[in-house]
C-alpha cells in the first residue's frame, strides 16, 4: 500500500493528539450493527501483478492499432499528434481540481478559454461552453434549452441523427413530459424536407439535424434555418466537428445551437468514453447556455486574468433554481481538443478534413465497382457512407474479422429499411494499400 504515507508511529501520535486509545472510538456515531460489513473483494496486488493482469485483459480486446478497422458510426479512429498526450499527461493539468480558485488555476482556465475560442472558430458560432459530458448529453441539454427558451412542448429530431443521441434525448425528455417528433429521411439518406415542413407547428421548440448525418451524408440545409426561424423555433445542428474543416459550418447554415461529439478532435476511442461534448450557441443564448464557461477579465493589478463566469446560472449558487445540474465539464478532454486543433492550425484543419474525404471517396468508388455491392449514400460525404451488401452484415463482418479486418456498422440493427447495409468508414489513418486490401477482401467475400 504505497499510497498511504502515515506510519504506525504517526498513527500513535495522532491518536494521542485526538485523545483516544483506539481508532474505533472515533467511529462511535456509527451504529454497531452497521459496522464491519462482510465484503468480498480480492486481496491487494503488487504493481507488477497489476501490470501483468491488465496487460492480459487488454489483449482480450481487438483494437484498431492491431487490426485494420473500417468501423466508425460516431466513434472515429484519427491520428493524434504526440503533443496532445504529452500535454494532457502533465500532472499539473490532469491532477488539478475544478478551477474555482482562479488564482491557482490560470493554466486550466486559460486552456479552456482557448478551447472555447477554437471551437467558436471551427463552428463559426459566437459562444462555446467549456464542454459537456459527451455529444449525446450535449444534444439533450440543447433540446432542454430550446424547450425552456420557447416555452413549447415538442422537439423535432431527424431520424438520421445518431441512434444513441436520439435514445439519450428520449430519456431526458421523458422526465419532462415533452414530446419528440422524428423527421424521416429519403432513400438516399437525406433529410425529408417535406415531412419536416408538414410537422413544423407552433408547438415545436426546436428542429435538430445532423450533418454529416449518421449515414455519413452531408445535408444540403439551404433555407432550413429561415424556415425554422419563421416558426420561432430554434435550429440545432450536430455533426462531426472535423468535417467543419472543409464543409459549411453550423453558423453558416444559420444554427442557433451547434453541439455534438468532439471525440474526433484528438481523443482516443476508449470503448466509448471519456469523450467531449461540444456546445456552441449564438450570442443571444449566452445566459441560457448550460455548463461551465471561462471568461477573461482583469485582476486587482489590472492584468489579464481568466475565471469561471456567469456562475449565477449554476447549481452551487442557485441550487433548485439553476438552469442545469451540471457541475463539471470534460476539462481534460477539452484541453486535448484545444491542443489538437492548435497542432493542426488553420491549414491543417482543412487538410485533415480533405484527407478523410479523399479516402472515403476513393473507397466508395472502389466498392461501387464490385458487383453485388450497392452504394446508397451517393451525395457528398465526409469519412463514411452506406453500402448494401450481398449478404447480412454480420456474416460479412465474420468473414472480415477472420482476415484481421474490423468491418463496418450493421445499419439494419437500428433501421429495418437498411437491411444488409453496412456503414463503412475510412478516416485519414488508412493508406491506399490498406483500402485496396479491404476492397480485395470484399470481392473475395462474394465467392466465399
Amino acid at each position: 500500500m504505497s499510497y498511504l504515507p502515515l506510519t504506525s508511529e504517526d498513527h500513535q501520535v495522532m491518536l494521542d493528539t485526538i485523545g483516544v486509545e483506539q481508532f474505533n472510538q472515533i467511529l462511535q456515531a456509527i451504529p454497531a450493527e452497521l459496522r464491519n460489513p462482510d465484503i468480498r473483494i480480492p486481496n491487494s496486488l503488487s504493481e507488477h501483478e497489476i501490470r501483468t493482469l491488465f496487460g492480459k485483459i487488454a489483449r482480450k480486446n481487438l483494437n484498431c492499432k492491431d487490426k485494420l478497422s473500417f468501423l466508425g458510426a460516431g466513434a472515429y479512429e484519427h491520428y493524434i499528434p504526440s503533443v496532445v498526450n504529452a500535454i494532457i499527461s502533465r500532472s499539473e493539468f490532469y491532477t488539478a481540481y475544478t478551477p474555482y480558485q482562479a488564482e491557482a488555476s490560470q493554466g486550466t482556465l486559460q486552456a479552456i478559454f482557448e478551447y472555447q475560442s477554437l471551437m467558436c472558430e471551427l463552428t463559426g458560432m459566437d459562444i462555446s461552453n467549456g464542454s459537456h459530458y459527451d455529444g449525446s448529453t450535449a444534444l439533450a441539454e440543447a433540446a432542454l434549452l430550446s424547450l425552456s427558451k420557447t416555452s413549447r412542448k415538442k422537439v423535432m429530431v431527424a431520424k438520421s441523427l445518431h441512434p444513441e443521441f436520439r435514445r439519450v434525448l428520449q430519456t431526458y425528455l421523458a422526465k419532462t413530459g415533452m414530446e419528440m417528433i422524428e423527421i424521416p429521411f429519403l432513400t438516399d439518406g437525406s433529410l425529408d424536407r417535406a415531412a419536416l415542413e408538414n410537422h413544423l407547428t407552433q408547438e415545436v421548440a426546436s428542429v435538430i439535424v445532423s450533418s454529416p448525418n449518421f449515414f455519413g451524408l452531408i445535408e444540403d440545409l439551404e433555407g432550413l434555418a429561415q424556415l425554422v426561424h419563421q416558426n420561432e423555433s430554434l435550429f440545432i445542428m450536430t455533426g462531426n466537428p472535423l468535417s467543419f474543416g472543409f464543409y459549411k459550418t453550423p453558423a453558416e447554415w444559420g444554427a442557433d445551437i451547434a453541439c455534438g461529439e468532439g471525440q474526433p478532435l484528438g481523443i482516443p476511442l476508449s470503448f466509448g468514453g471519456p469523450w467531449l461534448g461540444y456546445f456552441t450557441t449564438t450570442r443571444t443564448l449566452v445566459r441560457q447556455i448550460p455548463g461551465r464557461l471561462v471568461g477573461l477579465t482583469k485582476d486587482m493589478d489590472n492584468r489579464r486574468a481568466f475565471c469561471l463566469t456567469l456562475q449565477a446560472r449554476e447549481q452551487h449558487i442557485r441550487r433548485e433554481r439553476a438552469n442545469s445540474n451540471i457541475c463539471t465539464n470534460q476539462a481534460l478532454c477539452a484541453i486535448a481538443a484545444c491542443v489538437y486543433m492548435t497542432c493542426l492550425g488553420k491549414t491543417g484543419m482543412k487538410q485533415v478534413a480533405e484527407l478523410n474525404m479523399e479516402n472515403a471517396f476513393y473507397l466508395r468508388d472502389q466498392i461501387e465497382k464490385i458487383a453485388g455491392f450497392q452504394v446508397l449514400t451517393k451525395g457528398p460525404v465526409f469519412n463514411e457512407f452506406t453500402v448494401r451488401c450481398p449478404k447480412p452484415v454480420s456474416e460479412m463482418n465474420q468473414f472480415l474479422i477472420a482476415r484481421d479486418i474490423v468491418g463496418g456498422y450493421d445499419l439494419g440493427k437500428e433501421y429495418p429499411e437498411f437491411k444488409n447495409t453496412m456503414l463503412v468508414c475510412a478516416t485519414e489513418t488508412k493508406t491506399k494499400d490498406e483500402i485496396d486490401h479491404f476492397v480485395e477482401i470484399l470481392k473475395e467475400s462474394i465467392s466465399s
Binding site: Y3, D10, M14, I18, P31, L34, I41, R51, F54, G55, K60, L62, N63, K65, L71, A75, E77, Y79, P81, V83, I87, S91, E92, Y97, Q106, Q110, F113, L118, Y133, E164, T171, K175, D220, F246, Y247, T249, P268, L269, F271, G273, L293, L296, T297, K298, R304, A305, T309, L310, A322, I326, T328, V339, T342, L344, G345, K346, K350, V352, E358, I401
Partner: protein
C-alpha cells in the same frame, strides 16, 4: 494594460492566438494520395465553408512551451496539498494511467462485436460487482459520466419507480439544508418540488422536521452520509424507517464515501439508490474539472429500471444484455466513461479489501487530527469526532473584515490549496477541510502551521489578508466584470479591444 512586475516562472502570459504567425506548421500530415481530386471544385460550393477556420499557426516546440508554461500556472494534487472538503483530492496512482493507455483499452471501438471486446466487458462486469460489495447494493450501472449525472439518473429512477406504481402524486424531494447544491438542482431538473429540511443543533438532519415534512407526496430524501459537516447521521436507521414507512425512497449522495470503505455500507443503512464519484473515492484524476464517472447502484427492486445495455456473464463469456423490463433508457452514448471506470477498477484491485479499509481509517484519522489541532485557532461549530472531513468557522474574524474565502486565498500563498469555503450553507463563514489519506503527517502539520500564521496575520494586518494571494500568477480577478460583460473567446476579446476596452 499595466506591465507585470517581474515573475520569471509566469513570464509567459500571451494567449495562443497572440503567438500565431502565418504559415507556421506543427504536425506533419500525410500527403494527399489522390491529389487530382480537387474538392473545392467537386463539391458544390454552397456546401463548403467560405474561409478556413481561423486557428492559430505555431510550430511544435512553441505549442509545447505554451501549454507546459500554462500547466505551471496550476495547483494540482501532484504538486500541492488540497484540503478541499467534499472533493476528496487524493493521490492519483500512476499505474492507473499506464493501464488506461494500453492500446487494447484506449483503441477499442464501442461497437466492436462482443467477442472482440471481452477484456473491456470483463472490467465493466467486475467493477460493477465490486462496487456492489463495497456499498451493499444489489446492482450497479456504470453509464453516468459524472456525479451530477449519476444524481440525475438516480432521480429518474425514483420518478420511474413511483410512476410504475401509479403514484403520480409524489412530487416532493426532501434535501437537508447542508446538502450539495447539485441535490436540489437535480431534483428541480426532474420536475420535483424541493423541500429543505433543517439541521438540528448536533449538525444532523432534524428528525422532527423530517417527520413533519414527509408524507404520501414525498418521492425521496437525498442524503449524504457522513453529511457535509463530516458528521455521521447517527439516526440513519430511524430516517430509513420514517422514509420507507411513507413509501418514499432513500437516496445516497456518494460524495463522501471515502469515510466508509470497509467500515459501513449505504446499502446496509437502508439506502435504495446510491451514486458514487469515482473521481473522489476511487482515485481517478479530476482533470481540472472532468472527466469523471458517477456509477449508480440500486437495491434489487429497482434494478429493472436501470439503463441499458449492461454486461452479463454466460459461463466464461461476457455479453451485452440490451433490455430490462422497465428501463428508463440511456443517459449517455455507449457504456459510460470507460477510461475512468477502468482506472477505478485498477485502483480497487491494487489496494484490495484491507487497503480500502486502511484508506478510510487513515482519512478519518487525519481529519480528526487536523480538527483537534485547529480547534485552538478556529472555532469548530460541532466539536465531536468527525469522519473524513470537518467544518470550522471564521465567523469571529468578521469584525476584522475577514471572510472564510480570504483565509483560503491566503493559504495559496503558503502553497496549500484553499479548503472548500462558504459551504455548507448551514455554517456561517465555513471552511470545510478534508485532508484525505494520501497526505503525510508532515503535510498536515504544515497546514496547521500555515493557518496559525494566517490567524496571526488577521490580528496584525487584516488588509493584507483581504487582498491575498500575492504569489500566484494573478491577483484576485474581477469576477463582477467578467459576468457583466462576458468575454468568452479570442474573438470576443478582439472585439472588446477595438471598442472601448473594458480590460484597458
Amino acid at each position: 494594460m499595466k506591465t507585470k512586475t517581474l515573475s520569471g516562472l509566469f513570464a509567459d502570459d500571451q494567449m495562443i492566438f497572440e503567438k500565431s504567425r502565418l504559415g507556421k506548421k506543427s504536425v506533419a500530415l500525410p500527403k494527399r494520395k489522390f491529389s487530382e481530386i480537387d474538392f473545392s471544385k467537386n463539391i458544390p460550393a454552397h456546401l463548403q465553408r467560405k474561409e478556413c477556420a481561423n486557428l492559430p499557426e505555431l510550430s511544435e516546440p512553441e505549442i509545447i512551451r505554451h501549454f507546459v508554461n500554462l500547466s505551471k500556472k496550476n495547483f494540482s494534487i501532484d504538486t500541492h496539498f488540497y484540503p478541499l472538503g467534499s472533493c476528496t483530492m487524493k493521490y492519483n496512482p500512476k499505474i492507473n494511467e499506464e493501464v488506461a493507455r494500453l492500446d487494447g483499452f484506449a483503441w477499442s471501438h464501442p461497437y466492436q462485436p462482443d467477442d472482440a471486446v471481452q477484456g473491456s466487458m470483463q472490467v465493466l462486469y467486475e467493477l460493477s460487482h465490486m462496487l456492489c460489495e463495497i456499498t451493499g447494493m444489489d446492482e450497479f450501472t456504470l453509464q453516468p459520466a459524472a456525479g451530477a449525472h449519476g444524481e440525475l439518473l438516480g432521480l429518474m429512477l425514483v420518478h420511474a419507480y413511483h410512476q410504475h406504481r401509479g403514484e403520480r402524486k409524489r412530487i416532493k424531494v426532501l434535501v437537508p439544508d447542508s446538502s450539495h447544491g447539485t441535490n436540489p438542482a437535480t431534483a428541480a431538473l426532474c420536475g420535483y418540488q424541493v423541500v429543505q429540511i433543517p439541521s438540528d443543533h448536533r449538525g444532523r438532519i432534524d428528525l422532527e422536521a423530517l417527520k413533519k415534512s414527509v408524507d404520501d407526496q414525498t418521492a425521496c430524501l437525498m442524503l449524504t452520509n457522513p453529511n457535509t459537516l463530516g458528521l455521521f447521521e447517527d439516526d440513519i436507521l430511524k430516517i430509513r424507517e420514517i422514509m420507507h414507512r411513507h413509501g418514499a425512497l432513500l437516496y445516497y449522495d456518494g460524495a463522501n464515501l471515502n469515510a466508509l470503505l470497509g467500515i459501513a455500507r449505504p446499502g446496509d443503512m437502508g439506502f435504495d439508490i446510491v451514486h458514487l464519484n469515482l473521481h473522489k473515492t476511487f482515485s481517478t484524476p479530476h482533470g481540472g474539472g472532468g472527466p469523471g464517472a458517477g456509477p449508480v447502484g440500486v437495491k434489487k427492486f429497482l434494478a429493472d429500471f436501470l439503463p441499458i445495455p449492461f454486461v452479463v456473464k454466460d459461463g466464461e463469456n461476457y455479453r451485452w444484455q440490451k433490455t430490462r423490463a422497465h428501463s428508463i433508457g440511456k443517459i449517455k452514448s455507449f457504456y459510460g466513461n470507460f477510461g475512468l471506470l477502468l482506472r477505478a477498477y485498477v485502483y480497487i484491485r491494487s489496494v484490495g479489501l484491507e487497503g480500502l479499509r486502511q484508506i478510510s481509517r487513515d482519512a478519518i484519522l487525519s481529519a480528526n487530527y487536523l480538527r483537534k489541532r485547529l480547534e485552538r485557532m478556529l472555532e469548530v461549530p460541532f466539536p465531536e469526532f468527525c469522519m473524513h472531513e470537518f467544518v470550522v468557522t471564521a465567523r469571529n474574524m468578521k469584525p476584522a473584515g475577514i471572510h472564510a474565502g480570504d483565509i483560503g486565498k491566503r493559504l495559496l500563498d503558503y502553497g496549500i490549496h484553499a479548503p472548500t469555503v462558504h459551504f455548507p450553507l448551514v455554517v456561517e463563514e465555513a471552511l470545510m477541510i478534508e485532508p484525505t489519506e494520501t497526505e503525510s503527517k508532515e503535510s498536515l502539520d504544515q497546514l496547521v502551521d500555515a493557518i496559525s500564521k494566517i490567524v496571526k496575520e488577521v490580528e496584525e494586518n487584516p488588509e493584507m489578508v483581504q487582498k491575498a494571494p500575492y504569489t500566484m500568477p494573478i491577483r484576485r480577478p474581477d469576477e463582477v466584470q467578467a459576468a457583466r460583460k462576458p468575454i468568452l473567446s479570442w474573438r470576443d476579446y478582439k472585439i472588446d479591444q477595438t471598442r472601448n476596452s473594458s480590460l484597458a
